[in-house]
Amino acid sequence: MPYEVQTPVYEGPFDLLLHLILREQVDLYEISLSRIVDAYLIEIERMDTLDLEITTEFLLIAATLVELKCKRLLPEDADVDLDDEFALWEERDLLIARLLDCKTFKDAAQVLGELAGVASLSHPRTAGLEDQFLELAPDLLAGIDVDDLRSAYLRAMTPRPKAVVSIEHIHSVRVSVTEAVEELVDELPRLGRVSFRRLTEDFVERLEVVIRFLAVLELFKQGFVDLDQPRAFGDIEIVWVGSPALHVADLAGIDSYDG
């Protein structure tokens, strides 16, 4: 069942997360991590444009959130590595710090927007010199080089604003995590090491990327791949560490997800 996308465009993962957390601010103690995580994942799915770079950034935050949530669900007496736990707390604090930073500048941006709005009501005079004075000027091209010419051209050709009305339908994508896992089990042993971006570069639907991401997490959980993210917000490296001739039948049950 296709539906129209009406959600606002989120400028980034922090933007979305802030929105999700702060909209429930009225009743602070109603805020639940699970609720936020799920709403976050749903919003990712609802996004109507697929820019892989941006998607990846959203997914990286999603991974942190899911990790926080998993942590919450683990029994206390489980065999938890203290270092891991501290790392997770650190990650959470870092996330909060970044959200606060993001919020600060969002609010500042709003004030700038208001200033710019007021300022744009006044138009400056730009008519410049009257012709008889122009002739006096010794050299009108003084200090102008070809790079200035190039930037002037780009400035002149830069699109003027226009209303963007995007009423696209998201086509229902029939993918399941199981299918994605099957594909990965086929692809990954051959590739050995691959980045998540490479792995999803052919996809046009955001949902497909999300499903692949969940499939990668599934394989990670079952110990068939190692994940590495060398740089914050960078790409995720996926390394196959399972047997080279694994069959899907060897995998533990996977929940299917119909989109």
Binding site: D15, D38, I96, S122
Partner: protein
Amino acid sequence: MNPEIPRALEAILLVADSPVGTELLAEIVEVTEAEVEALLADLAESYATQQRGFQLVRVAGGWRYQTHPDLAPYVERFVLDGQAAKLSAAALETLAIVAYKQPISRAQIAAIRGVSVDGVVRTLEQRGYIGEVARDPGPGQAVLFGTTPSFLERMGLDSLAQLPSIADFVPGADVVEALEHGLRVEISEIPVGIDDNESVEVVTVEPAPSVAEPDERPSYDELLDDGPDTGFTG
């Protein structure tokens, strides 16, 4: 003082196509900067008193003529470009970061915004609102950006000092609390009996048993309303 001076100032500013600094004006009309300032203030006031359709204002470190804001509807009918291209939310956020944190590198802006900012930085640079002001002394020699006089003009500010203090925008304790609460890792909420908690993330997104109606897309709003944890505890 030569009675021509205020008239000369009017004439010069009429042909200027960007704000002219007091210093240059003083040099041309050969009076002190303080006198120029006083004369311009008088002129600005006389236009205001006479309810002229234009104003003389101080912006981006100089003086310029501009239309009175309340006439914008008429002017926009005439100026085909209409209003200056509206700044997107992304552009405004990036401008705010650059304005308050300058000099700042592209990577630092991206770290704050949480998204790649290459496109928006390029656009702002093209429009002349930000520019390279320095190079990072470190190994990468990253370009460091700062705001330009055009930025001040766009914001209608005389100088950066007129920007509200960044301290005004630091979120209050309520927001901090909300964030901490929202992201708390709360052991006490562990549902009993879930020791085999694999695919947590998958299950929570998973809409009820959709096997029966494979073609029907579930409504996620419903799921949200029901509370996301239902799937586990039920």
